[in-house]
Amino acid sequence: MHPAPSVILFSSLSGLGFGLLAWLGIGLPAVTGWVAFVFFALAYLLAVGGLIASMFHLGHPERALKAFTQWRSSWLSREAWASVAALLVMAAYGAGLVFFDARWWPLGVIGAVLSLLTVLTTSMIYTQMKTVPRWHSPWTPTNFLSLSIAGGALLAGQVNWAMLLIAIAGAVQIATWWRGDRALAESGTDMASATQLGHIGAVRAFEPPHTGSNYLLREFVYQIGRKHAAKLRVIAIVLMVLLPLVLLLSPVFHHLAAAVAVLCHAAGVLTARWLFFAEAEHVVGIYYGKR
C-alpha cells in the first residue's frame, strides 16, 4: 500500500493523543489548573492535529461532514463519531479540571473509554480489509491499542506503567510482524484463485493492461519499503521500545530524559506505522503479477 504521509501522521499522532486522553480521563496524573491545561493542550494538539492531517488525503475535504452518516456499516464513519464524542466529553472533563479544580470522574471514565474506542475504530478501518491479508487480523487492533495506551502512559508521565506497557506493545508489534509475514500466503488468494486458470497450469502475468502506471499500481502495489523492511523494523523497535526503556530506567531520570523518551517513542511509532502501510500487500497486485 502507498504510505500516505497524512494517514501515517494521523494514525500515529492521534493514537498517542487519544492514549494520553485516556490516562487523563482516569485521573493519572491527577492534575488540575495550569498543569492540567498543559496536559490537555498536548493531548488535543496530537489528537486533533492527527485528525486534520487525515483530511489532507481526501479528494473532497469540503464534504467531510457526510462521513458521519453511515455509522451502521462503515468503520470510518464510526471513527468520525467516536473521535468527536471523545473530544467533546474530554473537553468538558478538562474544563472542570482546569477552570473549576473539580474532577467529574464519571465524565473522565466515559471520555477515556471513548478515546480508546476511537483508536479501536481507526484500527478496524484497516482490520476489516480482507483484501490486505496482513491487516485482516485481531493483531491489528491489538497493535494499535497497545501502542496508544503505552504511548499515552509515557506522555502522562506514568513511568512504571509506561515501562511495562511499552515492553508489552513492543512484544505485540513483533508478533504482529511475525504473523503478518505469513498472512498473504495463508489467505489462499493467489494467481490461481485470481484468474481461475490454475486448473490448466502455472499462471504468469504476461502483459499488463497498459504500458504506463495507474491509480491501482500507485496506491496498492507500492514496493519501495520492502528492500529495507528488516532494517526499518530494527530501527522501529529500538526507537519505540528499547531507547525509551533505557531512558526511563536510567538513574539520572528527569524531564529532559522524559522528553527524549517521548520523541524517540513517537519516531519509532511513525517508523512502524510507515512499515504498516509500505509492507501491506493488497491482493489486486496479484493481477499485475506483483505478489
Partner: protein, 254 residues
C-alpha cells in the same frame, strides 16, 4: 445507505468468455469513450502524450500465460471491470453513503456528489475495479452503462453496456444472472462459469467462462507428423520433369 440490500430483484451483470477474447482492447476503448462523456465526471488522463502517461479506466484487459505440465503454453486475455458483487465490500466501507448497490437490478454505483474521495472503497475491492480520478478527486467505477441499458433514446440493440456492444469476438455477454432461464445464466451453466477470488467472499455477479480444452496440435504418436494437417499440406509439384523442366527454366530466364 451503505448497508447492502438483503437481496436484489435482478442481478444484471456480465459474462466474459476467456475462450474467445482475443485481447483487442476494443472494450477498454469503447468503455472509456462512452463513460468519459456520459454519467458523472469524465475519465481523465494525466500526461497522456508525456513520458509517464496514466489515466482512469473502468475496464482493463490483462494477459496471462498459462503453462500446462505437458504441452505448449497458452495465452489468455483477461478483461476485468467491476463484478457488481452481491456482497460488495466496497459499499459497506463507504463513510458517506456515496457507494450503494441498487435493489432493483444489483448495479453498484457511486453518487459522485457525496464522494469525499477517501479511497477506502478501492482498498476494499480485491479486483481493482475502482479507480480514483486524479483530476476530479472522486471514485470512478463501472456503471454497467446504466445510462445505456435503460435509455429509450437509443435503438434497442444499443441498450447494453458499451463494452458488450463493441466486442468483435462476442466474448462479452450482458443479462440477468438471477434468472436461471436467461441466456447468460444458461451460458454460465453450460460452460462452467466461475467467480474470481471466491475465497474473498464477495459473491461476484459477473462470471468468467474458462478457456475450453485446446485441440491436440501434435500429430498422432509415432506417425512422424508434426501436425494433424501435415498429410494435406505435402508439397504437390505438378510441373514438368527432366529435359522439359530444364527447357522451361531456361526459357523463363530469357
Amino acid at each position: 445507505m451503505t448497508t447492502l440490500p438483503q437481496q436484489t430483484d435482478r442481478k444484471l451483470g456480465l459474462v466474459i468468455d476467456l475462450d474467445t477474447c482475443v485481447g483487442c482492447h476494443a472494450c477498454v476503448i469503447s468503455c472509456k469513450g462512452w463513460n468519459t462523456e456520459s454519467y458523472g465526471a469524465p475519465l481523465s488522463d494525466q500526461s497522456a502524450y508525456g513520458a509517464d502517461p496514466s489515466g482512469t479506466f473502468l475496464n482493463r484487459v490483462h494477459s496471462y500465460e498459462v503453462q500446462p505440465e505437458v504441452g505448449t503454453a497458452q495465452l489468455v486475455h483477461f478483461p476485468k471491470s467491476c463484478l457488481h458483487c452481491d456482497d460488495a465490500p466496497c459499499v459497506t466501507v463507504c463513510p458517506t453513503g456515496a457507494s450503494y448497490k441498487r435493489v432493483e437490478d444489483g448495479i453498484v454505483l457511486v453518487n459522485e456528489s457525496d464522494c469525499i474521495g477517501c479511497g477506502l472503497c478501492a482498498w476494499a475491492c480485491p479486483y481493482g475495479a475502482r479507480e480514483m480520478d486524479v483530476a476530479e478527486g472522486v471514485m470512478k467505477k463501472c456503471t454497467l452503462c446504466v445510462d445505456r441499458i435503460y435509455n429509450e433514446n437509443l435503438p434497442e440493440e444499443d441498450r447494453e453496456p458499451a463494452c458488450v456492444r463493441t466486442c468483435p469476438a462476442n466474448a462479452r455477454h450482458f443479462g440477468d444472472l438471477a434468472d436461471p432461464d436467461s441466456a447468460v445464466s444458461q451460458l454460465v451453466a453450460e460452460r462452467g462459469g466461475v467467480d474470481l477470488m471466491p475465497e474473498q467472499g464477495t459473491k461476484p455477479v459477473n462470471k468468467y467462462l474458462p478457456p475450453r480444452a485446446r485441440d491436440q496440435l501434435q500429430g498422432p504418436e509415432g506417425s512422424g507428423e508434426i501436425d494433424v494437417l501435415a498429410p494435406f499440406l505435402a508439397p504437390v509439384d505438378t510441373g514438368p520433369k527432366g529435359f522439359l523442366r530444364w527447357l522451361d527454366r531456361t526459357l523463363e530466364k530469357l
